[in-house]
Amino acid sequence: MRGRRLLAWVVTGLIVASVPAILLLDSKAGSYSLDAGEVVLNLGAVVALTSVGAVLALKVPRNPIGWLLLASAAIALLGGFAYTYAGYALNGGHDLPGVRVAAAWNTWGWALQFAGLVAIAFVFPDGRLPSRRWRPAVIVGAVSFTMVLIGGMLWDEPLDAPFEEVQPLDVLPYDVASVTHNVGLIGMIATLVLAALAVRSRFRGAQGELRAQIKWVAYAAALIPVAIIAGTIEGVVLESEPGLLTELPFVGAMMALSAAIGIAVLRYRLYEIDRLISVTLVYGALTAILAAAFAAISLVGGVALGAGSTLPTAAATLVVALAFRPLRARVQTLVDRRFNRERYEGLRRVDEFLAEIRDGRAEPEATGAILAEALGDSTLRLYFWLPRDGTHADERGRLVAELPPAPAGRTPVSRGELTLGTLLHDPALAERPGLLDAVIVRAGLAIEIARLRVEVRHQLAEVEESRTRIVAAADSERRRLERDLHDGAQQRLVSIGLDLRHLEQGLGSEDDTRAGLDRAVTSLTEAISELRELAHGMRPAALDGGLAPALRELAARAPIPTEVVATDERFADEVEAAAYFVASEGLTNAVKHAGGGRVVMRAARRNGRLVVSVTDRGRGGASATQGSGLTGLADRVEALGGRIDVSSEVGRGTVLAVELPCE
């Protein structure tokens, strides 16, 4: 690894150092000097290839692409060096070694100039062939490039200008050299076709990252024809010979291509390509359309109103200014539909969802699921921020103290100043802010509504919980009071009574005091009895044994015949207490209007609910609210998530039923 890094630095250093050497030679080449345009073109290409090649060779030394770029730069420089070396020698009449080789290289060395880029096409972007089956293609390439080079170099064909005077090397017989060169050329064309096929096979059906990698290179490659057109137009407009200005767009395109390869291989801001393409296309198209509109209006107006009128120009400006925004949106949609399918589909899904919410066909809480769908990330989760609790909650209003670790991508969601929540998503989405941001902004209103609803739901749940807690607290308070009465006051009174009885024992049988003591004990007994009833009403101790015994005891105390059909199952304390109190109230009412008929109390578990009913066969016609203790009990029952039903038709008796959740 260190060796490769060192090699990368050395190669880069050599390339950089050779540039001034070549320029120095060139300055002394006289009539053979390169013209400025060629220097700029070649230097630009070398700078682009070297810088990207060096970065890749240092960062991913195992990937040959960086080395291939550096080799391309070196070959380009070698070509430049061969030309200036031969030129310098011929200009000064210096007798230098290898002048003929250098001149021949100037004519035939072109074959190697793009060998590097063809090789990159085979191994882009991961540095490996698409599969082992492609090995012969690489061999064909290597052999044919070598044949073209060797055949040409050793031929006796005259050399290209300006070295037409230099004697060719002429080592091989004409036919051998010719066949070698031309067969090599055919092989080269075959290699180019194979390179294109290799790219196609690799990128067919490519998804995600690979797709973005291709897009980068395709985007940069597309700039080359643009550069050609721009250069041509420039030449025509300036009516000048091809020169510096004509070469500039090519240099730009070459730099862009190198940079695109670098970005694609390093995956640095890989997904920016979508936005880049989108922006380029949108503003390119927009500029073209608006410029055409401006020109057309100016022209037509000018003809109609006569030259020199400023009115057409003003009108054209106004039209262009007014058309800009709606046109931009329209063009953006068109471009998205064609070139940024994901963004287009994503936004369309969100728009659909917004329409569904408006029509009441969807709940805003589904926003998270819709975002997952729109962004194509099934791991995506949306958590809403509850500022009052200082924490997040899910769509059901359950607090989430700490966001789960996966998925690892985190994007805060806000609307204006308001923090709405946090989006957890696949980290890969973060590299595509164009898509993510656009979808979040579009879904902003739905997220805000969902957040408000989640907040309300959470607060409601809190209130319900606290109501349940209050009922449970009241129950345990009743239990405590009952205990205190039974075990405290009541027992103390009994022991006082016992003391009095003891005193009585010591008195003579005709003593008046004895009669007084006896009366005291009798009223004490009554007090104890009342106290016991009071404690019982507070919370019957029979409830300690469960609902069934408590109901049986209730029935036993009733002044009318009462049947009990109850499950022996146990339920939560507050559920049993609520059921008991409702049954007790129901029995009291039944006694009032049952007309002496039988009363039946039932208790059973049904579908996760405890259902307790009191049925009488009295005259009926009772109403749920009719001045009974039921109103107070309804609150208790609702606090436990249950409900009370009274059905009472005249002449058909009354059924009071209470249902309490008991999972």
């Binding site: 039974h486 075990d487 015994p549």
Partner: protein
């Protein structure tokens, strides 16, 4: 009569002990929880254990469980359970065994009746609190019990409490002979076995009442 008392409240425990002492009985031990009660019963082998229902540590049914233990380990010992409140179900279960009693605590203030009940239990009879009996009888005043005369219902209730014919006669200030005829009439009307004056009669009456 030799007595062991288990009651966690000190004042009441002392009061009970004195009550038995005043009545001429021997209090062998007065303890404050169920474990000590078991130990005392095993050590002294008393004629009667007087047991509070709620005792430390949980104040739920420690006394009831200790009572069942005594029944199994020392069947010869009479057990009188004292409760702060009525629990009809458990009480009837308990009293359906011979030598068992279940009374509300404040019954101790009616010294004569209480001592009568205690002695009955000690002799292998039974004692069920009148209030428990009242809920049993009261629940079915419309059924077959409706056929009984008021006097017969009174007699039935006292039978359920565990009283003997002599006891009933004393309580109602009647002759034993009159009581016997009432008892026969009740048993006939309710179709109960015309058994002699003992625990099996109590049992028959209780199971009849419970079935209603």
């Amino acid at each position: 009569m030799r007595v062991v008392i288990a009651e966690d409240q000190a004042l009441l425990r002392e009061g009970l002990a004195r009550l038995f002492a005043d009545a001429g009985h021997e209090v062998l031990a007065a303890v404050d929880n169920a474990d000590r009660l078991r130990a005392a019963v095993s050590e002294h082998g008393p004629d009667l254990a007087v047991v509070d229902v709620r005792m430390p540590p949980n104040f739920t049914d420690e006394g009831i469980r200790a009572a069942h233990w005594i029944r199994d380990a020392h069947p010869e010992v009479g057990v009188l359970v004292l409760s702060q409140h009525i629990e009809a179900d458990g009480a009837v279960d308990l009293v359906s065994q011979s030598g068992f009693g279940y009374l509300l605590k404040d019954r101790v203030l009616d010294v004569d009746e209480f001592m009568d009940a205690a002695e009955r239990v000690q002799r292998g009879g039974s004692a069920l609190d009148p209030q428990v009996v009242a809920t049993l009888v009261g629940a079915d005043s419309q059924g077959e019990l409706g056929e009984l005369t008021a006097r017969e219902r009174e007699v039935l209730a006292l039978m359920a409490e565990g009283l003997t014919n002599a006891g009933i006669a004393a309580r109602l200030v009647l002759t034993e002979r009159t009581v016997e005829s009432h008892v026969r009439s009740v048993l006939a009307k309710l179709d109960l076995p015309g058994d002699e004056d003992g625990h099996r009669r109590v049992l028959a009456v209780l199971s009849y009442l419970r079935a209603q």
